[in-house]
Symmetry: D2
Subunit: 224 residues, 4 copies
């Protein structure tokens, strides 16, 4: 396994669970434009609620930092989320006819509660490496999902209402953020890890990946 990043090893250890998330029906239908709009709207609303807990998770990471550099990276992600992403998300949703106030007041779906609180609990019960591993299926996974769809001939960008979503996560800016997250995992594994930790980290990663797949499924179920 020499040369592999921690992220690659976690993906390998997750086995078919990984593709059950990254190649979930929700993703495939988003890419070919056949995803019902009601499904996407439901996802967008829950994703907004997710973002708030995502910010809390990186706030927690500031607390759990050992070095100024670690603190600054976490603070950068909180700032990017609260100062930029939340606003962009609100605007994007408005474009989909979703009222910001209604979105903020929407009840959290079971799947949203499960994934966000699982991440926070791993981060509090474990250390910062546990926290970042639990967040990796989301941060790094979205970049991989978008890149894979963009490279797939089945993907249709013309007249696809979800094209901007794919563009964003396949874009250079998001890709850089995902790469940074992978590098951070390796740095922390060097400093806080060791082979003995692999099984527990792999279990966390696989559980988080399953919860992400449930998050896609939530949208499909809600529309039924």
């Amino acid at each position: 396994m020499t040369g592999n990043t921690l992220f690659d090893r976690l993906v390998a250890a997750a086995g078919p669970t990984w593709h059950s998330y990254t190649r979930h029906d929700f993703v495939l239908r988003l890419a070919d434009g056949t995803l019902p709009e009601a499904v996407f709207r439901h996802y967008l609303i829950q994703d907004y609620l997710f973002l708030l807990h995502f910010s809390r998770a990186w706030g927690l990471a500031i607390y759990k930092s050992d070095t100024l550099a670690e603190m600054r990276r976490a603070q950068g992600l909180v700032a990017a989320t609260l100062d930029v992403e939340v606003g962009l998300h609100v605007e994007y949703c408005r474009g989909w006819g979703i009222d910001p106030a209604a979105m903020a007041a929407a009840p959290e779906a079971l799947e949203t509660v499960a994934y966000t609180r699982f991440v926070l609990d791993r981060g509090l019960a474990g250390d910062r490496l546990d926290l970042e591993v639990a967040l990796a299926p989301c941060i790094v996974g979205y970049a991989e999902i978008a890149a894979e769809r963009m490279a797939d001939p089945a993907t249709k960008l013309a007249a696809n209402p979800y094209k901007s979503w794919l563009d964003m996560y396949a874009g250079a800016e998001y890709r850089a953020l995902a790469e940074e997250a992978k590098v951070a995992l390796d740095e922390q594994f060097a400093r806080r890890g060791g082979e003995g930790r692999l099984p527990a980290l792999a279990a966390t990663f696989a559980a988080a990946t399953r919860l992400e797949a449930d998050f896609w499924q939530m949208g499909l179920d809600a529309a039924r």
Copy 2:
């Protein structure tokens, strides 16, 4: 509202959500003996996994204690769970043909993750009162559920395979534990609360109650 306990006020604030949990179809069918056994087995396995996080929650409560008395109450609940309940549960499940090792290795259901991690997050983000309020639908609710079923003419105890479950939670010992939990809520509300906190506590209580209802529903869904 004078004279009401905090628990009563939280139940009142939860409105119909409370009965959607305490009078859930799972409960009614358990009481009249028509609940499919596969449903109950699924519930038992997830309830075992729940117990482990329940112990973690009371361990957290020890950490969050301000007084020796608060510490001792939490430690008593951890001890009762780890030293007694876990063993009883394993034996009870064996009677239902559930292998202890298989149970310990069973994957956590989405509903189990959602409820347990929600409770732990409330306990860590908030204070001990937030934690105990999030746990109240479980601790106090089970006593109320059993008492209500026992008083219901539709309940059939003869030849009901779930009779021992009802007996346990309707029993004097469990009732005393539930009463103690209600008293503790009032004590903490006096020392750490105030009317201004009611809306946030009520939101936590209602969310936890919804997650408990989802936990019942999980069993029914799994059997489908």
Copy 3:
């Protein structure tokens, strides 16, 4: 007590402990320019180490937020500390002949450990109000200290090497930050408090104030 802010009530409850901190010998000698420079240098180095844990405390506050507004206020304070203050502090210390690398590598004094970890523990064991109350003697106290010294005829600004320190904390920018912290305490007390919480909050505030006084004393002791 109607009309008083929570901060005013906490100061009143702290009794003489408050002035043992705000009118500590360190402060009076800083204001009249007679503080030995070695004392101030020792203080500056420990204050740098304090800043890192101060950032961690506000990172924790992001995690402990219930609303987007709460998150943003905490994030603003982390950003102000990590993006601005840490850099300013390093430059200021360089002016006092303190090497940045040596400062970052300096061992934490007992008093620094005690105050910073006390704050973090209150924040984790309690809720965000507990955390902000533990931080208030620092945030609000520094503004009060500087204002009081500036109004004192015994203070000598001419040829006082500590003038810039007084100017900073007596300045409009810092005063506004302190006022904001007082308002936030009142908002949180309204939403998460109640009279029953006063004794515990007052105990936290008084303990934190004592630890701040110990922090001043540390400098004086170190120079002996």
Copy 4:
């Protein structure tokens, strides 16, 4: 370093800091019976306050457990502390003329705050291994201190008012508990560690050891 326990390696990494704690003047004078009684009384009172936070630390360890076995070990230590040790300590102190109520109401010394909150913060910011490493100088150290004194010809047990203290920590029961703690460190290092973690763990261990030495010094200083 093969064959060494993690504890041995942490002691080696701490260098002279370790003996500055285990062979502190307080310890040597306790062993030869020349420690002023007022010093010991001050220590006893602060040690009682320490015990409460020690219980909180093991409560936190329950929360931070990954397995039932880990939970049970932590719960056993909370139970031993709250159900047995606290009571024994109160009785022992009564024998030294210390009133239980006065002891419970005594203000925490700076050194007590520093050590206990440092441990809790390491435990919350890090994982359970960080927590147990921060506790090791106390748990394992006391057994080593007592054993070393018992083997030292300078130690005088006849007419030594502190003989029972030495007997307790040199006794088989306490020695077994310390051995268990060392084994637990190795188990966790195998499962959660790796060589890369050594420097950070060693820094935590050394800092905790220094704070323990400060705790001894506190008694001597208080009597001056």
